[in-house]
Symmetry: C2
Subunit: 356 residues, 2 copies
């Protein structure tokens, strides 16, 4: 997708979040966004591991692509006499960078198997993984876009845009396509406390695409719905259970309940790789509790354009910081996938996995 104002001038340029050129992997330094736009160049698989670990690259799809590219780099770097051992060691190392990221393991497995045939096949397979991720996002956009009418005002939560994938994104992909086709859309961006990925990343993405938007406090959603100002809600997903329950960023559940109350369609956008069919219902999903400092402090840019962390609560307070919540399937109008829009029901989910 487009990034404006590169190098301080008015030019804009298209980027993927991550790509490979020769034996180097390039990626947008997401930990610097939205205040600085920089490309990180990784010259070997160990540097790519570092990038995954330190969240220079983040988001399910982008991490998967990074892991695939890292595995391809490892294959290229491995000496011929100890080749198998070399790529095995690298695989273990790559998989240890973000052990809870499912896409990462799928990617290393695929590229490792290709690397067993040849170095060229490994690079090719890593490229396929990145391309498929972008392609799936594009398809999600095409299906979702069919439901977006001219003039729609859409609320979104957190960041499920192209930064979390290789390109296009999930929740934002239909919006990009609608805008490209000339439909007028207006986006209400939940700031998404505590980490503000909405205000920071989603807003940055929309601005680069010149799509009109306004950031709102997470508290304002139901109010806007009550005033008839929201036509549709689209969010991403971190994990979708076999029955259609959706785990996503904390606050998603609250929007879904309010949307149901006001009869506003609530959609989730996610590729097949987000579904976990071994997980029967959302009750089985364990919710990660993150550091209380994310609530008690806030990070941003001070007057001198330096990143600063400030205390925004009464000193010596405790906080509780669940990172995700589970939205029950019956609050979800539909799920945009690369195989079409489905109802959050076991049978429809099975169908996209070709399970009878």
């Amino acid at each position: 997708m487009k990034v404006n104002n590169i190098d301080g001038n008015n030019s804009s340029k298209n980027y993927r979040t991550i790509w490979m050129e020769g034996t180097c992997v390039f990626m947008i330094e997401q930990n610097l966004l939205p205040f600085e736009f920089k490309i990180y160049k990784s010259e070997n698989y160990k540097q790519t591991c570092h990038a995954i670990k330190t969240m220079i690259v983040r988001g399910a799809g982008a991490i998967g692509a990074a892991a695939g590219f890292a595995m391809a780099q490892a294959s290229t770097e491995a000496s011929d006499n100890e080749y198998i051992r070399g790529i095995q060691i690298a695989k273990t190392e790559i998989e240890a960078t973000r052990p809870t990221a499912r896409n990462l393991f799928t990617a290393t497995e695929r590229v490792f198997n290709a690397a067993l045939i040849s170095k060229a096949k490994a690079v090719n397979e890593a490229q396929n993984i990145a391309d498929e991720d972008a392609q799936n996002s594009l398809l999600i956009g095409e299906y979702g876009n069919e439901l977006i009418k001219n003039g729609f005002r859409i609320e979104t939560h957190c960041n499920a845009g192209w930064l979390a994938f290789v390109d296009y994104g999930t929740a934002l992909s239909p919006i990009y396509l609608a805008h490209k086709q000339g439909k007028e859309v207006f986006i209400y961006v939940d700031e998404t406390r505590p980490r503000n990925q909405g205000a920071k990343l989603t807003a940055w993405e929309l601005q680069n695409e010149n799509i009109p938007y306004a950031i709102i406090a997470d508290n304002a959603g139901a109010h806007l719905m009550s005033k008839g100002k929201i036509d549709m809600i689209i969010t991403g997903a971190d994990r979708i259970a076999a029955n259609g329950d959706v785990a996503n960023k904390i606050g998603t559940l609250e929007k879904a309940i309010a949307a149901k109350y006001y009869n506003i369609p609530f959609y989730v956008a996610a590729p097949k790789s987000t579904f976990d069919l071994d997980c029967r219902t959302g009750d089985e999903i364990i919710i990660e509790e993150r550091d209380e400092d994310e609530i008690l402090y806030q990070i941003g840019l001070n007057e001198n354009h330096k990143t600063e962390k400030i205390l925004i609560s009464a000193p010596n307070s405790k906080a509780i910081n669940p990172a995700f919540d589970v939205t029950p399937a019956d609050l979800i109008t539909g799920i945009f996938t690369e195989r079409g829009i489905i109802k959050p029901k076991k049978q429809e989910i099975n169908k996209i996995f070709n399970i009878e």
Copy 2:
């Protein structure tokens, strides 16, 4: 209520938010909380006006008391030969400090009428206003406390504690009483973006009373409800319409909808002065839109213990910042008032105003 750790030592002391001694008015400098505890001394009515205008004193009840005291100061200060004219000018000036605060006008009116009789009567009436405010809060606490069971986990939004009134507060008053009686309670404090009055003021109040609490992101409410972790929600109110619809800090509506979805009792605590019987329903209440900077920036304490404002969103973003929302009466379990707990229904509201 109690303030701990005065002057950096371990002593604690009881305070009202505002009080009068001789011809001086003293008040907690609320604009410095929770990072600094200081008392502002106002030596004349003009200084008290300044304190109201600059939000050294804030909150419906506290503003009412401040206005009453200011009027009493004006009466004391007025020269005998131009007495009526003097107190009339002062009244106009006091009423211009926060023209949307209803309590302010009630207070100036009452003290002005007393001042027409004598200076002593004026001071006495101002004191009555402050005492009545504290007394009403205490009664609200007594009624609300009857519903709090031992072990209750209560969520509250924004700050409807003693800082907003003269003493005790509204939403927090029942909690203080429950704690005093030895009931175990745990409070989930919504941080209440954008101005974080929950994280800043409610947390500060609870800490001073040694009541266990945790600050949560506004996004986390429904999640905690879904896990059975909330037994009751209590919020304050900015205005209550004749039909029981409640205008309160943005985000209140979302909590009420989620509470209904999970069958959790949702209570509003407010004195009679919050009711506006001329306002038929919540639809008639105009929602103030505040400065977008409240969303785009955050104010807090930096590493050097200085107050700092940092940018927490993508540069050049727009934000929309409705300050309040309206919770329809049918989402509200009951209202704690100084006349008892009532249902949010016209007949029950009329009863506490002795209207047949």
